[in-house]
Every structure is written in structure tokens, then in C-alpha cells.
């Protein structure tokens, strides 16, 4: 996780250091390489649009952290620490998954899928056990958050647990 706050392109002093006076700042929430891969597909929607400044951030809730910072550096999007992202008002935030403390972000939020639609349930944490198994086998609301993606077939998913922590 990136620690060092940035002075530009976001922050109260950013204008001082900026060359291009952008109108909107968009936060890409990129919690792992898989979601980054989908971001690569959609980023051309901002091509040639000098009104936009993109930055990226992520936090330590995702188990697959390895290589993420390097991949975002490779992409050339400025990474900002999650603490700074939480304390910045963005004009838009885009995430390619629905987990990882997205409610900490102050911005209109768009969630896109990172696979084919939404078809896969994450593996249950082994220690969570089967105690929430619904009688019918039908999906039911998650007691932690009511998250539609998180509940089905008795599976408690770590994204939900993370958010409620």
C-alpha cells in the first residue's frame, strides 16, 4: 500500500503544481491485478479528454496485493494512498469489484464487473464454517451488509466481513 501522500494532482496545493487545469478528478479503485486488467479495457473512454485527471488507489483489504503497485506504476496513473483517497472528494470513483471499503470513498461510485458479468461466488473462508446455511438453498440477504453479491448457498464472503470490520 502506498504510504506517501501526494501534492499533485490531488490535494489542496495541487493547483500550484499543475500544468493543466482539469475540471474533474476520477479515482480508480484498483484492489488487485484482475480489476486493473478490466480498468485497462475501459480507460479509453477518457482518451483525449483534457477535462479529466485520473488517479488510482487501493487498500490492504484484498489478499492479492503482490505486484499491484508496480503494475499501476507501469500504467502511468498516479497512485495515492488510501488514507488520502478517503480524505479527498472525487468527482467520480470507478471500481471493478464491489469489495474493499468502497463506502469510505466520497464520490459518485460506479461499479463494473471484472469478469463475465457477475457469476462467481468467492470461496468461503474456511474458519467461517457453514453456520449461516439457508434452509432452502436459495440466496438470502447477508446479515452483515445485505450485499447481494456476497450471499448465496451459505457462503459468507470475505468482502462482506472486511466491510463490517
Amino acid at each position: 500500500v502506498k504510504e506517501q501522500h501526494v501534492d499533485v494532482p490531488v490535494g489542496i496545493r495541487a493547483k500550484r503544481w499543475a500544468t493543466i487545469p482539469t475540471e474533474r478528478t476520477v479515482l480508480l479503485v484498483v484492489h488487485n491485478i484482475t480489476t486493473l486488467s478490466r480498468m485497462l479495457d475501459i480507460l479509453p473512454v477518457f482518451d483525449s479528454d483534457w477535462r479529466m485527471q485520473l488517479v488510482a488507489s487501493w487498500n490492504d483489504t484484498d489478499p492479492f496485493q503482490h505486484g499491484l503497485h508496480a503494475a499501476i506504476e507501469q500504467l502511468g496513473i498516479i497512485p495515492i494512498p488510501w488514507e488520502q483517497a478517503k480524505n479527498t472528494a472525487f468527482d467520480l470513483a470507478i471500481a471493478a469489484s464491489n469489495h474493499g471499503q468502497l463506502t469510505d470513498i466520497t464520490a459518485p461510485l460506479v461499479i463494473i464487473s471484472h469478469g463475465i458479468g457477475y457469476s462467481k461466488y468467492l470461496p468461503r473462508k474456511p474458519e467461517t464454517g457453514n453456520r449461516e446455511r439457508p434452509e432452502t438453498g436459495r440466496p438470502s440477504a447477508c446479515h452483515h451488509s445485505g450485499c447481494w453479491m456476497m450471499v448465496s448457498r451459505s457462503r459468507m464472503r470475505w468482502c462482506c466481513r472486511t466491510r463490517s470490520n
Binding site: 476520477v26 461499479i111 463494473i112 462467481k120
Partner: protein, 418 residues
């Protein structure tokens, strides 16, 4: 999707209307935020289909079939359930007829370590497997492929959606929601048997009408084919309170992967030769030796075949070099004394029958107890020439032109004993 009953997103982007029904059933409060915007990844792959030849060239396929092995992550994935499958495919499929390329979900390499994955797959990499770049290599691989061996992951699904023949090596039913593109894939795709031979299954799949078979998958991947980027930009612009730019949204073709395919790498093959001496034709069938399950090279399958090991002198396994009947170096290895180099190889490797140096279109060699031999061909891969010379010598053919059949191609080779 919901936080204390309130939608967390201002726009929940769905790729297909089908997901509206599921959302309505399971989180109706989020329904008002849902936007169907198609699938930008699928659109991009479809926009790249016309350039299949480019992607095939980048992978160095020639007229070989590309078997694309795709694994999502987790213990129920293809790699999690059948970690040896790639090795089995490499062992079985002749390398002049097939290339095996593998695309692994990033959660595999970034859970275990990319270097760890390469270490686990090192025998496969030495045996010619292509490991596709994880971020942007699989799309090109799917387009280039002739058949996909996959699982319940999205990459396999995207392959089915563009009409590639898919055979499922595993399918984690428990992980999946019903009524989706992936569940449709599970319903229609044939399964790979638990053990080989796999080639007949792949051949059957390739002969099938995959576009027709997987039409349900294709229809569930997006309900706005070709429109995703346009719709996404309009969603973003609305939330940003901005007008949309006047220019068209570009839909980029997928990048051509940079794969180290053309560099000569050390190889060790089990080579079956079939010689038709009356028409002076030699057929070679080469398979990587290191991944063979049993010791090889001792018995021919029938008495018309001959089996030998052909091995680079720098192949990093002494046991294979020691058993090789054909040992091959690069011409530059020998400096200005090729004859001395060839004699030295025969001396150091008592099982070696033909020592050879290759460069460009030619081979110079030394046959134990016989003497010098040269082979040249305008178009045959030069690493086939040493085994062609071995077959020529072991069947007692006279010098001169000879037909060489390798994979799906026939070449003309000239063999001389200067």
C-alpha cells in the same frame, strides 16, 4: 451491493439484462442504480478478431494448432484440480503440430509469486509451453487459439463467446450463479476426460460447430454488443455532470503479445521416425522428452518406427543428454573447428550416434563410425535436420535429396557425405 440496505454504488454496471432479473430478486433496492452497459472486454476481443493472423504470428504458430489452456484461480480451478494437465498435454501433443499456451488468472501468480509459478512450470516452459502475459496476453491467445481447455473462469467463457471450441478440464459448479454466461458454458461444453489421450477429444471439439454450440454463452455475455464503451462514457459523463466529448470513443484492438518464441531455446525431444525408403521420405514426430512420464527411447511402438532422443547439448538435464542418440549444438559454439567439436561430443556422450551443429538452413554433423554428414533445406526448421540425418543414416539411404514430413508440412532436404 447494499450497505445497510442502501446501494453503495451510484451506478451498478451490468453487462447483460439477465443480471437485472437476478438483482431484482436478490437486492431490489439496488435496482434503481443498475445500468446495462454491455461488456467492454468482449467488445474489444470481437473488434480484434479480424487480426487473428497477427496474433498467431506473434506466437510463432506457423501451421500448428494452438491449444489454449485457461485457468481461473482457487482450488476448484483447472490448475487447482489438475495441476499436471499442462504437462500431460505437452507430453502427448506432437510439438510440430501443436503449441500449448497457458493463461493463468492473476490471483494465481500474485498469491504464489510469478517466479514461483514459472518455477513450477519450468519443465513445461522447457518443453515449449507459452506462458501468456497475465494482463493483456490472454485476449490475443484466445483469438489465436484453435481450441480452449478451460474451466469456469471468465477467460474460458470469453473464448466460448467468440466461438472457440471449449473443452472443460474442470468446472467449479459450486462457485457459480445460475442463468449466467458461465453457467450456460457448463451446460453445453464437452468435458475433458480425467486422463489422456486427449488429442482425440481436442480433434472432436475442433471439428464441432463451436459458434453454434456456444451461442447461448455469446448471447449472455453482453446484451449491447459493440456498444459498451459508448454507454460507459455516457454513464460517466452523467455522473460527472459533464457533456460528452464530440469524438468517438476508441475501441482498441487487443495488443500483440511479446512472447519469446523465436529465440532458439534448448530442447530435448522424443522423436519417432517413420521412413519410407522406396520414396525417400522421412516423417518425424517430435514430443518434448522431459515431460514424458516413462523412460523413453527404448522401444519403438511398432517395427516400422524408430524412436530416439534428440537433445540440445545445452539442455540442462544430463540424463537426457546421456541418452540422446542425436546431440545438437549451435554452429557458433564450435568456433573455427566444427570437426573437433563434433568429435568431442561423440567422445563425451557414448550413446550419441549423430553429433550436429546447426546454423541457418544447414547442419553439419558427424555419425559415429561413419563420418561427416551435411544436411540442408531451404525451409525446414533447422532443428529437424539432425534427426533427419539420423533417420537417413539408420535406414541406410544413399546421399541426395529426401522428403521430410514434420507436423502438417513437407520439406525438401538434401543430405550429403562430403
Amino acid at each position: 451491493v447494499l450497505d445497510d440496505g442502501v446501494p453503495i454504488a451510484d451506478a451498478l454496471v451490468l453487462s447483460h439484462e439477465e443480471q437485472l432479473t437476478r438483482l431484482a430478486a436478490e437486492a431490489p433496492a439496488a435496482l434503481e442504480t443498475a445500468v446495462v452497459a454491455g461488456d467492454p472486454c468482449h467488445d474489444r476481443i470481437v473488434a480484434s478478431l479480424d487480426f487473428r493472423r497477427r496474433y498467431r504470428d506473434a506466437l510463432g504458430l506457423g501451421n500448428r494448432m494452438l491449444v489454449f489452456v485457461s485457468s481461473t484461480w482457487s482450488a476448484s480451478s483447472l490448475l487447482g484440480t489438475r495441476p499436471w494437465l499442462i504437462r500431460e498435454l505437452l507430453a502427448e501433443l506432437p510439438r510440430d503440430s501443436y503449441v500449448v499456451a497457458t493463461a493463468l488468472h492473476p490471483n494465481i501468480s500474485h498469491a504464489h509469486g510469478p517466479g514461483q509459478i514459472r518455477a513450477w512450470l519450468s519443465d513445461c516452459l522447457r518443453s515449449g509451453m507459452v506462458l501468456l502475459p497475465e494482463l493483456d496476453g490472454w485476449q490475443a491467445g484466445l483469438i489465436a487459439s484453435d481450441v480452449v481447455v478451460g474451466d469456469h473462469g471468465a477467460v474460458t467463457g470469453y473464448g466460448a463467446a467468440i466461438g472457440r471450441p471449449v473443452v472443460l478440464g474442470s468446472f467449479g459448479d459450486d462457485d457459480l450463479a445460475a442463468g449466467t454466461a458461465i453457467s450456460a458454458l457448463g451446460e453445453v461444453a464437452p468435458r475433458l476426460p480425467p486422463h489422456g489421450p486427449y488429442e482425440p477429444v481436442l480433434t472432436t471439439a475442433m471439428a464441432d460447430d463451436a459458434v453454434e454450440r456456444f451461442s447461448a454463452v455469446r448471447d449472455l455475455v453482453t446484451s449491447l454488443p459493440g456498444e459498451s464503451m459508448r454507454v460507459l462514457r455516457s454513464v460517466f459523463a452523467r455522473l460527472l455532470g459533464l457533456s460528452e466529448p464530440e469524438h468517438e470513443v476508441p475501441v482498441e484492438t487487443v495488443p500483440v503479445p511479446a512472447v519469446a518464441g523465436s529465440v532458439a531455446r534448448p530442447y530435448a525431444d522424443v522423436v519417432h521416425c517413420v521412413v519410407s525408403d522406396e520414396v525417400r521420405r522421412v516423417r518425424l514426430v517430435r514430443r518434448p522428452a522431459e515431460v514424458q512420464r516413462a523412460p523413453v527411447g527404448l522401444h519403438a511402438p511398432d517395427d516400422t518406427d524408430d524412436v530416439h532422443i534428440a537433445c540440445s547439448v545445452d539442455y540442462p538435464m544430463r540424463s537426457l543428454r546421456d541418452r540422446a542418440a542425436v546431440l545438437v549444438g549451435q554452429r557458433r559454439d564450435a568456433g573455427d573447428d566444427p570437426a573437433g567439436w563434433l568429435v568431442e561430443v561423440l567422445r563425451r556422450y557414448p550413446a550419441c550416434v549423430v553429433a550436429a551443429l546447426i546454423a541457418g538452413h544447414t547442419m553439419v554433423g558427424m555419425v559415429r563410425g561413419y563420418g561427416r554428414v551435411t544436411a540442408s533445406s531451404a525451409d525446414a526448421p533447422n532443428d529437424t535436420l539432425p534427426s533427419a540425418a539420423y533417420a537417413w543414416w539408420s535406414y541406410g539411404l544413399s546421399p541426395g535429396p529426401m522428403d521430410l514430413a514434420v507436423g502438417r508440412t513437407r520439406y525438401s532436404v538434401s543430405i550429403e557425405n562430403p
